[in-house]
């Protein structure tokens, strides 16, 4: 099995392997195999399209965690200039599962805050698999305050399995750290744009996810609990994760339909990692467009609109209304 492809993508991997083999033979022998290669490439495209046309929510959640998927710093490098990372919560330590700093977006100074996963084993451990501890949220909070002080919009990138369930995290007040962010983000006097780029895992995601405009990449997910976690609680078996993924409605199109997010940024077929330049352009365009719109609003109106939007979350039946 090719580890660069998910289980349901293996037929594509096989075709791609054949194409690579033909190329190698052609180069080695000097025999032109262009026609055969072109045919196979066409076949691979068609196969990819047909597989990606009917992805299940569970497959999407696997794509959102794809090992090749671009992470926050990959996008930051492509979208912004002069990115200057700022570290630490000033109280305990620098949590590497959340990165932040100032940069320019098309010349405009902005504050960037995002979850960060690691690529190789060493970095994965350093970044704690993108699972922040309280100091990560407190660093984020510090940077938001800084952004407010200097009138810089806050752009967040969400990609976490969730807040880290550990002894130290509880001792240092994980709950309070998340709660504090929710409260402060609700009234921050600068525009906040949140983009889910991979996994939007529960409170750990929301802690940097309250904003004026919430976007999701096409194959990202956003959920109150992981499908596995939900399955093991409600179905009493983690094997039911595909059912839980379906029931929870974690995909971008479903959440847009429910009006819980504002915008979907389409990904190339095969996922963001198959064409990072294309995705980068799409994210940048979306950020610039919504930022232009939000920056026109007077601060009071910006904060009031955000408040109304937060108050609008939820569906219930009120017979007296």
């Amino acid at each position: 099995m090719n580890p660069d492809y998910l289980e349901f993508e293996q037929p594509i991997a096989e075709l791609e392997a054949k194409i690579a083999e033909l190329r190698f033979v052609a180069e080695d022998t000097g025999v032109s195999l262009d026609e055969e290669i072109e045919q196979l490439e066409e076949k691979s495209r068609a196969l990819t399209e047909s597989i990606f046309a009917k992805l299940t929510p569970w497959q999407v959640s696997q794509l959102a965690r794809h090992p090749l998927r671009p992470y926050t710093l990959d996008y930051v490098a492509h979208i912004f200039t002069e990115f200057t990372e700022l570290h630490g919560d000033r109280a305990f330590k620098d949590d590497k599962a959340i990165v932040g700093g100032i940069a320019r977006l098309d010349g405009t100074p902005v504050m960037i805050i995002g979850h960060q996963k690691g690529r190789d084993t060493k970095e994965k451990i350093q970044r704690n698999f993108g699972m922040p501890r309280p100091e990560g949220y407190r660093k984020a909070l510090r940077l938001m305050r800084l952004a407010e002080q200097f009138q810089m919009p806050v752009l967040t990138f969400i990609d976490t399995p969730g807040a880290y369930p550990g002894v130290g995290a509880e001792e240092r007040g994980q709950s309070e750290a998340i709660a504090q962010n929710l409260k402060v983000m609700a009234e921050l006097k600068v525009p906040i744009i949140a983009t889910v780029i991979g996994e939007g895992g529960s409170g750990g995601a929301l802690a940097i996810g309250v904003g004026d405009h919430v976007m999701m990449l096409g194959y990202s997910t956003y959920s109150v609990i992981s499908p596995e976690g939900c399955a093991s609680i409600l179905w009493k078996s983690a094997d039911k994760a595909p059912d839980a993924a379906e029931a929870l409605g974690i995909t971008a199109p479903r959440l847009k339909e429910l009006d819980l997010i504002d915008q979907i940024i389409e990904e190339p077929i095969g996922g963001a990692h198959r064409n990072i330049d294309g995705v980068t352009r799409a994210i940048k365009n979306a950020l610039v467009a919504s930022l232009n719109r939000l920056q026109e609003l007077p601060t009071e109106q910006l904060v009031e609109t955000r408040y109304e939007r937060l108050m609008g979350y939820g569906q219930f039946n009120d017979p007296t209304a």
Binding site: A179, I225, F316
Partner: protein, 289 residues
């Protein structure tokens, strides 16, 4: 037979068999110290074990009853009902779970909000009913919390919320998660109005409830022994693969780590809260009840 019983005439000896057939529910065994307690006495003691001080979980209506002055009381937003937005179905349908919880508790959802008085002082109180789907927070709980905040602001009175919740309600999926943001945001309005919010954490207060308004009290109080935290102890144990420290995530542990202001015994909760609120509101001390 003891020497004393031998002396007692047979006609006034009580039949040992008859003694055991006490009506059900008259006795309660404390899960902490195993003392067998007389139910009526336990109730008089606000469901705190008189032997060891263990705080038993109590229902929402009873909590309100022992906390508020008898008059006046006005329930707010009592008619708001949950809806099954996603047609969520696991081993059971959410619809059926709701119906069962409503039948069991007599409540529409897991949070009850009331306007009333404590030692003569006007307050708004919210109380979670853990018996209603584990006190989980969905759209109704979020909305009622916001209404409680509004009522506080409108009546210029402080807010007290007793939490008892497993966290966000999975059956409402991302709608539940968003209630964390909604409830936390609302507290900015209370703060702007200069009104205090006392958050009382009771057993258990976990997950999305603890990671939102419940940890945003101007004063944070917990009942003795209450389990309070973000991730559940079992999840943490599975992640770190080691035994958790003694008393982990209990109220005393939180006090030790600086996460809460005070641990308050249920039997003096009413008076303590009234006193604190009076000070925060720059009012004279409440008359002792």
């Amino acid at each position: 037979m003891s020497w004393f019983e031998k002396l007692v005439p047979s006609r006034i000896r009580t039949d040992a068999k008859g003694k055991r057939t006490v009506p059900e529910g008259v006795w309660h065994k404390c899960e902490q110290c195993s003392a067998v307690l007389y139910q009526a006495e336990l109730e008089r003691n606000l469901d705190v074990c008189p032997k060891c001080g263990h705080h038993l979980r109590i229902g929402a209506r009873r909590r309100i009853d022992v906390f508020l002055d008898p008059e006046p009381r006005e329930e707010l937003a009592a008619d708001i009902e949950p809806v099954d937005i996603l047609k969520f179905k696991d081993s059971k349908r959410y619809r059926d779970r709701l119906a069962a919880a409503q039948k069991k508790t007599g409540e529409k959802d897991a949070l009850i909000v009331m306007k009333g008085r404590v030692h003569g002082m006007n307050i708004v109180v919210g109380v979670f009913d853990f018996a209603f789907m584990g006190g989980s927070m969905g759209s109704v709980v979020g909305e009622k919390f916001v209404r409680a905040v509004q009522a506080s602001v409108d009546s210029q009175s402080p807010l007290v919320v007793f939490s008892a919740s497993g966290g966000a309600r999975m059956q409402e999926a991302l709608f539940s998660l968003m209630q964390m943001a909604k409830t936390s945001a609302a507290l900015n309005r209370l703060q702007a109005a200069g009104l205090p919010f006392i958050s009382v954490l009771t057993d258990p207060t976990m997950g999305g409830v603890s990671a939102s308004f419940a940890m945003l009290g101007d004063i944070q109080i917990a009942e003795p022994g209450a389990l309070i935290g973000f991730a559940g102890p079992r999840v943490i144990e599975q992640t770190v693969r080691e035994k958790l420290p003694e008393g982990f995530q209990r109220a005393e542990f939180l006090l030790e780590h600086g996460a809460i202001d005070r641990i308050v015994d249920r039997r003096v909760m009413r008076m303590e809260i009234a006193q604190m609120l009076a000070m925060l509101m720059q009012q004279p001390a409440p008359e002792s009840a």
